[in-house]
């Protein structure tokens, strides 16, 4: 007869068998038996957050920068509800998370007990799946299944709710592998056929105005996918643009790269998307920030869509060739087949796409990311550019909060490797970047981790600086401080007759003193000529830093596709701010 283990022991045994090294969490009454067991498992380190949302975003940062699932441990009731934002964020951005939550003892469930909530009910729509464990003998199976669901197919968060009595009860442990009968989201069930590949190649060969449009699926598929993507792009000689989540899959400074597309994407990327005759979507999902007005989205193009999630295909935009597949396996077989029959394609095809590149050159000539710099006041775009120039020589990881600073970071920081860029794209969670940076630094000790932040966002999870100090994580919080919720202010300026309703934060803390009170380093830059020196100082400090970069309060983020407009109607800068229609104003 196998040795019986307590539920809490089973939890750690399962985590060990899943090779989990770090868990992010916060203790409480209903998870105490699990916390009690922590001391007996030296291979697993617990990172104590200051709020469960922070623990969740840290787990996300860990997952995104390491490619491994993030593990989160929270208590019942408020512990679980605080984790909901992070779970939803991970769900939207397809990040593998396993959240283990404590629950009140089985006999108290449904009695409105202290710190009871319907955790599986609340998290059902923001997880791929969740479980309430009612029998300790189910626990090991469920935990291993949880890891499998989180990491298979389109990754995402899962939650296992374990009542306190189950944590004490003794039961059998078994290591289950590949318990899913069907692979989720079509990953393994679909074999790529040669006829699909030939159609793909045929479309490539027939196109004279092609574009690659790639997204987070390339990153999620692993570093191999980026390698193959680079190979395919160089084999074809086609231009490529990327979504916010896909940045880094293709080198940001490569001449074939047109920059990010979408609402704040470059002029060349958006116009190329609109005018192309072939759109090759690899691992992106035709999100509304990308498509703008659906009816006028890229009207003349054939569209190929590669996605691991069958429900992503055809959801927003109809496509001509749909391939349900993991990006790596698709690109690998596509490149192999393409090379067999198309030697020296890039040169023989040059003529065919020369006009297209010429047109792209004209769009590029608009220099849509330009801004009017100043020598008196720091322009936020300038600050990001300087940060990029001063950090590009080392392997740097960037996280962001949400808002203008996030878009400036995406526009002006050029990523050359996957898993170096962690931003909340789908849910748009202010307060994401600081705790995410903690998770990134845990997964990448010794590397430079910078959270490009806004002062409003970062205050939402500022308490996590205390976590950074406790674990000696030298993360850099680079705040572009304009005293406004910048993106809200920008929309109010452009769409609401400059009625800056509640978007100004009076009584901001002194970030330098705040840093000192947390026991980290505070640095402030007020003028452009001291900026470089201060950034260098920030990089050289081997401690957590809060960098208060005082920037122009009135700067807007351009270029911009106003809501409700197609891709070829961008606003390039302040001189072009046209009237936005009433219909456009209701859109977000």
């Amino acid at each position: 007869m196998p040795k019986l283990l307590s539920g809490a022991e089973i939890v750690f045994k399962a985590l060990e068998d899943q090779k989990v090294e770090y868990i992010f969490g916060y203790p409480g009454g209903a998870v105490l038996p699990i916390y009690d067991e922590l001391k007996n498992h030296k291979s697993i380190k617990h990172i104590l957050a200051r709020h469960e949302q922070g623990a969740g975003h840290s787990a996300e940062g860990y997952a995104r920068s390491s490619g491994k699932p993030g593990v989160l441990l929270v208590t019942s009731g408020p512990g679980a509800t605080n984790a909901v934002t992070a779970l939803t964020d991970a769900y939207m951005d397809s990040i593998p998370l396993v959240c283990i939550s404590g629950q009140v003892p089985t006999h108290l469930i449904g009695t409105d007990a202290f710190q009871e909530c319907d955790t599986t009910g609340i998290t059902r729509p923001c997880t791929k799946h969740n479980w309430l464990v009612k029998d300790v003998n189910d626990l090991s199976r469920i935990l291993h299944l949880a890891f499998e669901v989180a990491t298979t197919g389109r990754p995402g968060p899962v939650l296992v709710d374990i009542p306190k009595d189950i944590q004490f009860k003794k039961g059998k442990y078994k290591f289950f592998k590949n318990t899913l009968k069907k692979k989720l989201n079509g990953k393994a069930t679909h074999k790529i056929s040669n006829s699909e590949l030939d159609k793909f190649i045929d479309l490539i060969k027939r196109s004279s105005k092609p574009i690659f449009y790639t997204g987070g699926g390339v990153i999620n598929s692993g570093p191999e996918a980026s390698k193959y993507l680079r190979e395919l792009v160089s084999l074809t000689g086609f231009p490529i643009t990327s979504t916010l989540q896909g940045l880094g899959a293709y080198p940001g400074d490569d001449p074939q790269f047109l920059g990010m597309l979408g609402m704040h994407g470059t002029y060349e990327a958006n116009n190329a998307m609109h005018d192309c005759d072939l759109m090759i979507n690899i691992g992106a999902r035709f999100d509304d920030r990308i498509t703008g007005k659906v009816d006028e989205f890229s009207p003349g193009s054939k569209k190929i869509h590669v996605d691991i999630d069958p429900s992503s295909i055809g959801k927003n935009i109809k496509v001509d060739l749909a391939i349900v597949s993991d990006v790596t396996s698709l690109l690998k077989s596509l490149i192999k087949r393409f090379k067999e029959k198309n030697k020296n394609f890039v040169n023989s095809n040059k003529q065919k796409t020369s006009k297209w590149w010429e047109q792209i050159g004209k769009w590029r000539g608009k220099k849509s990311l330009n801004f009017i710099n100043s020598d008196k006041i720091i322009k936020p775009q300038h600050a990001v550019q300087r940060l990029y120039e001063l950090t590009k020589s080392q392997d740097t990881f960037i996280t962001t909060e949400v808002g203008q600073h996030q878009m400036w970071a995406a526009q002006h920081y050029k990523f050359n490797k996957p898993n170096r860029w962690m931003t909340s794209g789908g849910l748009g969670t202010m307060g994401y970047g600081l705790p995410a940076a903690i998770g990134v630094q845990i997964a990448n000790p010794g590397k430079l981790v910078v959270d490009i932040a806004g002062e409003a966002s970062v205050l939402m999870t500022m308490q996590e600086m205390s976590t950074a100090v406790q674990y000696r994580l030298p993360i850099k919080i680079f705040i572009l401080n304009n005293e406004y919720m910048g993106m809200v202010r920008q929309w109010q300026e452009l769409l609401h007759e400059k009625n800056y309703s509640e978007s100004y934060t009076a009584a901001l803390p002194d970030f330098v003193k705040l840093a000192e009170s947390y026991g980290c380093v505070g640095i402030r830059a007020k003028t452009p000529n001291e900026l470089d020196e201060k950034i260098k100082e920030m990089i050289s400090v081997d401690r957590p830093v809060i960098f208060d970069c005082v920037v122009d309060k009135a700067e807007n983020c351009f270029p911009m596709i106003p809501s409700g407009k197609p891709h070829n109607q961008m606003i390039l800068g302040p001189e072009e701010e046209e009237e936005i229609s009433d219909e456009g104003k209701v859109l977000v």
Partner: protein, 182 residues
């Protein structure tokens, strides 16, 4: 602004609305119905009727029949989203009016009235496999099985004859001939 109250992006052209019957085989475990219903409400799909019962006691498989309406694009999404749920084994989808598929709903009616009226009730129900489940000299409980529209019509006709209570199931479906859903 009247066009759309909560526009997230400009609403595209709306396709033609079709009625479909979607059959889902699921593990009969706690919360599974909430998952299915939550998927529909969360994504703004419509459930017109729903019928659930366990059909395999050994494997604990339940069969859920959902009647829904939507554009072809929405119907496709419903199918694909359902297939992503962990406890879902398979999904079958039929357009209302497909020839090879049988649909039935069951209804129970309680009617109060004198024997003359009740005889009339039985007559009206004749075409719909009526079964008298209970009868007194003042009342009758009658069960019929028919299509949704037929039951709608019947209920309307019975109103004037003293219908006081109606209980209906959702539709269930099955293929004709030797073919089964897969």
């Amino acid at each position: 602004m009247a066009k759309s109250k909560s526009a997230y992006s400009v609403p595209g052209k709306i396709g033609k609305i079709e009625r479909h019957i979607i059959v889902v085989w699921v593990d009969n475990e706690a919360g599974v119905l909430a998952r299915i219903a939550g998927l529909f409400s969360g994504r703004g799909y419509n459930i017109e009727s729903l019928a659930v019962a366990e059909v395999d006691k050994k494997k604990h498989i339940s069969r859920i029949t959902i009647v829904t309406e939507g554009t072809p694009q929405v119907i496709e999404q419903i199918n694909l989203q359902l297939k992503k749920l962990v406890p879902v084994h398979k999904v079958a989808d039929f357009k209302r009016g497909e020839k090879d598929i049988l649909f039935r709903e069951l209804a129970m009616f309680k009617i109060l009235g004198n024997s003359k009226k009740l005889e009339k009730v039985k007559k009206i129900c004749k075409r719909f496999n009526p079964v008298v489940l209970d009868k007194t000299n003042k009342s009758i409980v009658i069960q019929v099985t028919a299509l949704r529209a037929e039951i709608d019509k019947l209920a309307l006709d019975l109103k004037s004859l003293g219908l006081i209570s109606t209980s209906r199931t959702g539709a269930v479906a099955m293929t004709k001939g030797s073919r089964i859903f897969n």
